[in-house]
Symmetry: C2
Subunit: 335 residues, 2 copies
């Protein structure tokens, strides 16, 4: 590869579109994704993804690559674009989420490419596996969530394990990407072990294979039985937080309306809470309360333990007086 | 609201589509999202989202709700569907990510709805703000990431703070939703404080406002200056991990190819690593090494500190002998 970054744009300057095709059904692809593929001279992708867009690529030059040839895909894309071709480099889901966008920029930078290059690059976002899989099981992602890949082909295991431990403890909803393969079978067992240190065994888990594709398969299970389920390369594992529930086969994570509104009795605000305002346990109400507890003689270490937060964070927040108007407002309403 | 779940389906049974419209540009909406809006008799949504789909809803009944009337939107949707109407309840981004899918199921369950009800419910996934914002700044989400909402309108601050602390420590890329509003200005300062306990001050941060919309605005900054930036209700804050870099104005998180391949020298595998296989520091290689270190006299506490993992997790893994074929293979290749 050579850099042509100083050459003026040829009349037929090529370009690279990094296209997220969504779950794989054409219905769930964006218009821009369809257009970027339609405009392309060359379509490059993992063989499985190429099959998913078969209807859209007739007559085009197709470059099929295997699972591990991600850098090769990016190199091929740059070579074709340097020849003046329009390239669609396709990823399932979102091109930016464990997709081709990252490796492509790494290859482009290595080749001396800059954004001023005649070869222009566009990223076309799409629904990632976590969005598509969530849509098929209910509403598990209504609160804070994480995506973690269990693949250790490029990431050391201690890094992955630390992340699993941290988010299990902090009660995130978690989507596990690449949970298992023919060779990698113990990662999901270790993930389960790390989660069970912090979470209830009956925490809801949904395992979604091939969402919106012909062989879609959904299994509802629980954290303690998760590792025994049928999980493969095309599965995404969704683990709920401590409030996630399953009702009538739907997995739902509450947003927290129950913290503010009386859901069973007409939906009015509960005592001490106001619509459109922070909770009485929100930041300012909590700070106010923290100051009061500290003034009443509760020490910083006890407060840190009480709220599950670092001692020095509690100490730092206590050093800043809570005097602004909102804080006083918050004090009034929480009275 | 009464439950009609025992009534047979009327010839004009209504339905509810929870539609994620993506970032707001019609180009980045899925075909199914467009179709669900086109098929709808009634379109319900936050006023801003209704404006984003103005071209698609001419002649339809429109129900505009304010920001905090999420439960009202769900109640209105059910009422209209009970009258036999087709309802599109629209969310920006993905309907499942801090969107209307969760509140709607909560309201439906409260009203006695079940999946056997004549009123059918469909969730139409879309690119969430984190996907769209990432696409506009480069490839920040190529590795494990989290989404955290800084809104304390429904979530107590200690819950939010614990999550910020956990993911800052575990080196996730983080997308902050609802980072700041007219009333909520200190949350982003606290988030910065929690992050700076674990992350370098020069950690790349991108603040993306109104991605793909007319007033799109992108600011690249760093963690230590993040809270001083112009941040509002329509902003998403993307914080990189310890490997994220900015080059030529593009924010990129490496996937980890440098752990396995010599990126500067033709891309061949580096010594001890094999394409398509777990890293020598992957799970099985790491377990093998852990057993060797322990056998050589390193105690469990030292190993826990060395790898940043809980003592009892290290102890539990050491109790399971590492004897399967893959583990031996891994031993050979890492020699």
């Amino acid at each position: 590869m050579t850099s042509d970054s100083t050459t003026p744009a040829a009349p037929t300057a090529g370009r690279i579109a990094l296209v997220g095709i969504g779950p794989g059904s054409v219905q769930h692809m964006t218009q821009r994704a369809r257009d970027a593929i339609a405009e392309a001279d060359v379509v490059i992708g993992y063989v499985t993804y190429i099959k998913l867009v078969a209807d859209l690529i007739e007559g085009k030059e197709i470059v099929r690559k295997s699972m591990t040839e991600e850098l090769d895909r990016a190199v091929s894309a740059l070579q074709a674009a340097r020849q003046g071709k329009k390239v669609a480099l396709i990823s399932s889901g979102d091109a930016g989420v464990y997709g081709m966008a990252g490796p492509t920029f790494e290859v482009l930078f290595q080749a001396g490419w800059t954004p001023d290059d005649p070869v222009q690059v566009e990223i076309v976002p799409g629904a990632s596996a976590l969005n598509s899989c969530a849509a098929r099981v209910g509403a598990p992602l209504t609160h804070d969530f994480c995506a973690i890949s269990l693949s250790d082909l490029l990431t050391p295991w201690p890094t992955i394990a630390r992340r699993l431990d941290a988010v299990a403890m902090a009660d995130f909803v978690v989507a596990l990407y690449n949970p298992k393969s023919g060779r990698r079978t113990r990662q999901i067992v270790e993930a389960q072990r790390l989660f069970l240190r912090h979470r209830r065994p009956d925490t809801p888990v949904a395992i979604v294979k091939s969402a919106y594709r012909r062989r879609e398969h959904i299994v509802h299970t629980t954290l303690d039985r998760m590792a025994d389920a049928d999980i493969g390369m095309l599965s995404t594992v969704l683990i709920g937080n401590s409030h996630t529930f399953v009702r009538h086969g739907l997995m739902v994570t509450p947003r927290g309306y129950g913290n503010k509104y009386d859901m069973a009795d007409g939906g009015g605000a509960i005592e001490g809470e106001r619509p459109g305002r922070s909770l009485s346990t929100g930041l300012l109400g909590w700070l106010q309360n923290l100051h009061l507890e500290h003034a009443a003689g509760v020490d910083v270490h006890t407060l840190a333990t009480r709220y599950g937060l670092p001692v020095d964070y509690i100490a730092a927040t206590l050093q800043e007086p809570c005097t602004d108007t909102e804080c006083q407002t918050s004090e009034e309403t929480s009275a």
